[in-house]
Amino acid sequence: MVDANTASHLIDIFAATILVTAFLIVSSRSLLFYVRLFALQSLLLGMVALLVVVGYGESHILIAAVLTILIKAIAIPVALNRIIKKIEVQKEIALSINIPLSLLICGALMIVASSVAEPILAAQHQTTQTVSRVLPSSIAMMLIGLFIMMTRKKGVTQIIGLLTMENGLFLSGLAITYGMPLIVEVGIFFDIMVAAMILGVFVFRINQTFETINIDELRSLRH
């Protein structure tokens, strides 16, 4: 069995890797990389949840951990890959801010996140808990997910942005209260799965109508 000390070390490493995948998503240019990195991110997130189960004996998030791996690391990436293959879009993403500047902005978001998290952690009086150290990373992931949605113009990249935000939420739930109650988690999972499916179909339809999934084209609907 993994003891709490080893678990906390591993959680630190996995959380850092999750954060790195979020940054790598921002730095990549290919739609397929977006999906792959997201799958990796979700897998690592599931591992963190499992480590909380094993290391701290919080067995109630076991189901959430397994669901994270099954749905977010396997089902959604497979579905997104199928959509990308089917509509044969250009595999290159479209951006409104170039990549070096995006990375710099995300670095700044990380600093914002860690300064936002500081008073929360200080108020919590639980500085000994390792999991709460993940909080700044999780807030940063929410912000980066939002940033991806704002600056990457294709439908699939918008979905990945939303899902990255959701991963950040899950991580912050783990950080503050060792995960939300199971019923809430399951609700969120179905929400996310349905959202990803609907958005996927939506992207597919957009592509059929406009022959592109660049959401800029949607402006023409106004006229």
């Binding site: 630190d12 850092a16 790195v20 990375l103 710099l104 995300c106 670095g107 998290a117």
Partner: protein, 318 residues
């Protein structure tokens, strides 16, 4: 008195290992690349013969070049030799620790780069100027990324002195698996590839004008000048790999000046550097060179990873 002698002796040993080991590492990289491309490749010791040949050849100088062009090979060579005594290779504390710390190393690298760029401009060849301008624009991102990666490690040790950083890592190996430490390693590894002009940033083996950066600046050099420049860039690669291996896996580095410790230090250093050199060769064989305008993206990733490393140190704590 004998202490001073010992320190001088160990410094000389260190210099010899860097001077003699560097072409070997270059040869190993070339050999591994050739084997991965199903070629037989030149013998591992080929770089020694190349240097030997270049040292004997006559020097041809462009009529428009000035003293800068002639002085540059020596400046580059000596700055690299100084760096060899400033970063931990065989032994901590390093021989010249009273001269300076990591910031001195970065400035010495910048000195060499500045003169190489000047020499590139000096011959009034279009390629030289092109190489110089590319080198300087890339350097403007490399240097901050390198500083941040090293500062991230320096924060835990509480000193920018490389010897102190390495000895604190030797005494507390737990911090080796700190996530910030790993991120700093990846950041510094990308910096190494960019700084030593390897694929995917620059290709050391091509003279195709569209892609070359470092080769463009030294295009006009010949004879012993070229030998010094080539040797210096091989040593630069060796030293960066040594810095990576000793800052992130300081196994076997000597902490006292005894013959046994020095031998262990030398063997472990060579082993670690060879492993990293093979990694570099594999990366070179499996990646295409990036388009010049994509290079800043890669370097920005290195910068951001180093920044993350620094932030994570403050979040997670040492």
């Amino acid at each position: 008195m004998s202490d001073t002698l010992l320190i001088i002796a160990s410094a000389l040993v260190q210099l010899c290992i860097v001077l003699i080991g560097a072409p070997l590492i270059a040869g190993i990289i070339k050999k591994v690349k050739a084997r991965m491309q199903n070629r037989k490749g030149a013998p591992v010791l080929q770089p020694y013969s190349d240097l030997n040949k270049l040292l004997k050849k006559e020097v041809i100088l462009s009529s428009s070049s000035s003293w800068v062009f002639r002085a540059t090979p020596y400046i580059v060579f000596t700055s690299i030799l100084l760096i060899a005594l400033l970063i931990p290779t065989l032994i901590v504390p390093v021989s010249l620790h009273w001269i300076g710390d990591i910031i001195t190393v970065v400035y010495l690298l910048a000195l060499g780069r500045f003169f190489t760029a000047l020499a590139g401009l000096d011959t009034a060849s279009a390629f030289g100027g092109l190489g110089s301008s590319r080198e300087m624009s890339i350097a403007s991102i490399i240097e901050p990324a390198m500083m941040l990666a090293i500062v991230a490690s320096a924060v835990t040790a509480g000193s920018t002195d490389l010897s102190v950083i390495v000895s604190s890592l030797v005494s507390s190996p737990v911090s080796l698996i700190h996530p910030a430490h790993m991120l700093a390693f990846i950041g510094l590894f990308i910096v190494t590839i960019a700084e030593t002009g390897r694929i995917p940033v620059d290709n050391p083996e091509t003279h195709l004008e569209l892609t070359m950066i470092h080769e463009a600046m030294i295009l006009e050099y010949s004879g012993r000048y070229l030998a010094f420049i080539e040797w210096a860039s091989q040593m630069k690669l060796f030293l960066f790999l040594a810095l990576l291996s000793n800052m992130f896996f300081p196994v076997g580095i000597a902490t006292s000046v005894t013959a046994a410790a020095l031998i262990v230090g030398a063997v472990s250093l060579l082993a670690k550097v060879v492993v990293l050199a093979v990694v570099v060769a594999v990366i070179e064989s499996t990646n295409a060179k990036l388009r010049l305008f994509r290079v800043p993206e890669l370097l920005m990733v290195a910068f951001i990873l180093s920044l993350l490393a620094l932030i994570l140190y403050f979040i997670i704590g040492g």
